[in-house]
Each structure stands twice: as C-alpha cells, then as structure tokens.
Symmetry: C2
Subunit: 312 residues, 2 copies
Amino acid sequence: MRVVSLPEILAALDEEAALAAVASGFRRFSAGQVQVAAVGHLAFADAPGDCHIKSAHLVGDDVFVVKLATSFYRNPERGLSSSNGFMAVISAATGEILALLHDQGQLTDRRTAMAGAIAARAIARPDSATLGVVGAGIQARLQARLIARILGLSSILIWARTSDRAAALAADLGGEAVGLPQLCARADLIVTTTPSTAPLLTAEMVRPGHRIVAVGADSPGKQELETAILGRARVVVDSRAQCLDHGEAGWAVRAGLVDPASLIELGALLESPIAFDADEIVVADLTGVAVQDAEIAKVVWRGLQRAPSPRD
Amino acid sequence: MRVVSLPEILAALDEEAALAAVASGFRRFSAGQVQVAAVGHLAFADAPGDCHIKSAHLVGDDVFVVKLATSFYRNPERGLSSSNGFMAVISAATGEILALLHDQGQLTDRRTAMAGAIAARAIARPDSATLGVVGAGIQARLQARLIARILGLSSILIWARTSDRAAALAADLGGEAVGLPQLCARADLIVTTTPSTAPLLTAEMVRPGHRIVAVGADSPGKQELETAILGRARVVVDSRAQCLDHGEAGWAVRAGLVDPASLIELGALLESPIAFDADEIVVADLTGVAVQDAEIAKVVWRGLQRAPSPRD
C-alpha cells in the first residue's frame, strides 16, 4: 500500500484530464456501466459534521475506488480545514490496497467542483455573462473559479450568510459581494454551495432563463432551493436514485411538484445534449456520485505511475 | 494520520479486551446506541471477490471507525492472502483521520471469529464436547481455535469441500477431517465458515440439541444452511436488518419458515441470556456488524496510544 500525501496528489492531478474523466464517468454511470455501492453516511450532531463513504467500480477497470470524506463545519473556528478524508485505489483482481490517496478531502472538493462545472456547461445559456455564487466556503471558491474559467464568465457575484466571508471571497475572486435577491436579479447562472437545511433561494427570486447548479444538498435534511423553483424548472440530476433520496429533486418530488419520470440524468444529458429554450429555468441537482471519486482517483493514480515513487 | 502496520496492530491488540469490547458492542448495538452507516458492498464476478465497507459510531465515543475489507477467493492460488483491507480511526469531533490500521483484513478476520465465539458461548449446551468446523479457510482456523479455547472443547472435527485442505487444518488443530454427515452426527456445536452460495448443511443432518454458528453468509446470494434447519430452530441474529437482507435468516424468512418477529438479536441475548432447552436447535446467523469493527479498532487504538509511536 502506497500512502500518497496531498502535495504528491496535487502534483499528479492533471485537471483537464480529470474534467474529461469525470464527464466520461457520468456518461458511463447513466449508461449502467458503473457498479456503485450503497453510500455510507454518518452524522455527528454535536460537532456538527458528516462522513460520507462512496465506492465505485467502472466495468472493465483493473482498479476500484473507495472514498471517505468528512465535513466538520466548525473546524475553521479551530484553524482546521472542514474537509478531511482519503481515497483508496484497490486492485479489482486481488483486493490489495494499491494506494491510499490521503487527499484530506481535496479530491472530493475538486471532483465536486468539476461536476458543478460540467453541469454548468451543459445547462448554461450561451449568452451567460454573470455567475452568482451562494456560499463562501471551499466549494464556493472552487466552483466560482472553475465555472468562470470554463464558461469564460468575467463577472462574479457572491452572497453568503456571513457577509465578511462573502466580502473576503469576492475580493479574492475579483467579484462583488451582494444581497441574495440582487445576486439572483443579476446572475445568469447561479451555483449554490452551502450546507443549508432550509431553502435559501425562493421561487420569487428566480426568473425565466435562470440556470442553477445546486451542490449543497448531499445528505438527508439539506436543502438550498425552495421546491417551487424545481416545479417551474427542467431538473437535471447527477443520480436519479440519490437525488430522489436526498437531493433538491427529492424535496420537490415529495411535495408533488416534480414528476420523477421527468428528471434528466446528467450522464444522459452529456451523451445527448439538450438545447434548452432561452427562457427555460434549468436546475442541476448534484448530490455527488462515487463515479466522480473513481475517475479523479484514477487520474491521480495514473499520474503517480508515470512519476517515480519518492520511495523508489 | 498515523499509518499502522500489521505487526504494530497485532502487538497492540489485547485479545481478551477485544472479546469483551465486541460483546459490549453487540449489547450497545441492540440497545440502539450505535450509529451504523449503510454497508457498502461491491462484487467482482470475474476475480471472484467482494469488498465490504462498514462504519460505526458508538454514541458518546470521541472516535468512529470506517472499515474496508476485501475477500478475493482465488488469491491463495497466487500465494496471496484472500483478505485485505484497513480500518480507519477517525475523530468524531473534527473528522481527522487519526490512524489507518492497515490490518490487511486481519482485524476483520479476528472480530468475525470473536463474534462467532461470543455467539457460541451464548448458545452452546453446557455439556458440549465436540466442535464441528465447516470450511478450511482463515475463518475455519480462527473460529476453531477461539471457540475451542473459550468453551474448553477438546475434540475438533473438520469438513471442507477440498479434502486436502481439511486434512491440513485438522493436522494443525489436532483435530480430525471427516465427512459432513459424520461431522454433524458427532459434533455438539457446528460453525460454518464458507463462502458457499448453496446450502451445505441439510435439515436431515441436523439433530435435536445441535447448536450452529453460521458466519459465511455475509452478502447477498450466500447460504450455508438449508432453510428447513432454521424452520426447526431458535434463530439468533447479529443484526436483524442485515440478516433479513442477506443472512441465513433472510432465506428462511423469505421461504415462509421463520417469523421475523421471532428472531433474537445477539446483543439482546447477551444482555438477557436464555437457558435453551437441551434438545432445542439454535442457530446463530452472523453477517458481521460494523460495531465489531469499531470495537476491535478502538482496542488497537488504545493499545497504540499506550505504546510510543515508532515515529516519535
């Protein structure tokens, strides 16, 4: 078992290759070519924090990947990162642990941002100019950078519950901290990145043509969008099963506002792109699928195999 | 993150403390004091092999444990152990990975054997003299040694599909390799340890007063006991939910031979022991519960904290 430190991981990670691999992974997932284990989830009310365990094997691959990622929301108050964890790359022929990528949650953060960017590219209006970012944490920063770069958006608006953090992130990104209604009024594309358990965006904030990528609702109880928004929108989901269980789509389906048969899986959308009407509202509900972990870990693992091991 | 090698793990493992901890864990599990995540399972038909991921947090503990264990059944043909994996000890306050116990499956093997011994002690007739072991793999060896020691059984009978392996294990254990009907006729207590997907023990082999500990059926499709055996038995399960899903109990319940309400959870049995009638058949169906992993990993972790780290 090779234990790989974060600097080694980041040096071995080819971002463009990973973006392509994650997109390919979504297509293969929606085509039924990925074995995904039940997601393990533990919740720690006191801390508060979450632990997610996700595992996937792409049919034919010689390795599979098990990912553990924790998010403890008060860690920053102690000067610690909220994210921790690792990805294990395991032989699908012998079960041996080939590599333990001790990414401390950073590969999960990056593959989540990549999924957001891939979804944003698939649903954005071609004339999009302004990105609105809801939240000011790690995902807000990564999604803002990646989406703005990939879609060539030059204007970034930030809203967060804590206005100091919004202002700090806006300064870092060359964006502007604004109120949430103003953000919605001005943005073409909105990405929501908070661990909120109550809707932040209301239906009255959303206008025709809005495209929304929601990445916060990754476990039961979390919700960032009022269900009425999804009732008026085309809804794209990363995983039909997961989003019905604990995504934004689940809330809207349980409220009787969305027909589950109408949900479009992201991998299917990537395989057969849809030219949405300019005034359609489109929501991409991303809960995080193990195939993303498998794809980004494989990109790192291939990168490490090309580079000599520091122990060799 | 401290990566702990197998020799360090075994040096830090106090077997008596672990036996007590695993038994305590079962009691707390059945009392609803353990948060257990959904079990992740991946199956590799070609290899063939399995990967199980189990996670648990005992209420109030400052750590939780995520365990990954693989079993690849043809590894011994390549001179490799069939078992691999690790247990991660993680802070329940910050999500940091405190220790990665690279046990290569050995802690899983041992906690499984401990559960077998704990169940055997809870269901065995006081006059038991002869142990029958079905299978000749790692579990057969560990269960035989531990059960024989704890219950003071001096006579061990072994049956396995491959008679050479049965003979080799019998020689190691000072036991006797016999046919399966003969094993059943002579043993008081039988432990079944194979990855069989079809019943090995038939109802006609089982007689009144037999006590059977079945540890092989740990994932969907596996079965070692004909369902009619359970139809005639008191059935103890390590986890009601898991055993209904993929244990021996599940087969018997689906066949309409066992009322799920009659299942006795092991932790409840340990809390309130039952004096079974001498001629009752009792089956303990063990699928493996994450609390066992949490308890054995915590015993190792406490042992490591008493010993200085080799890196200090």
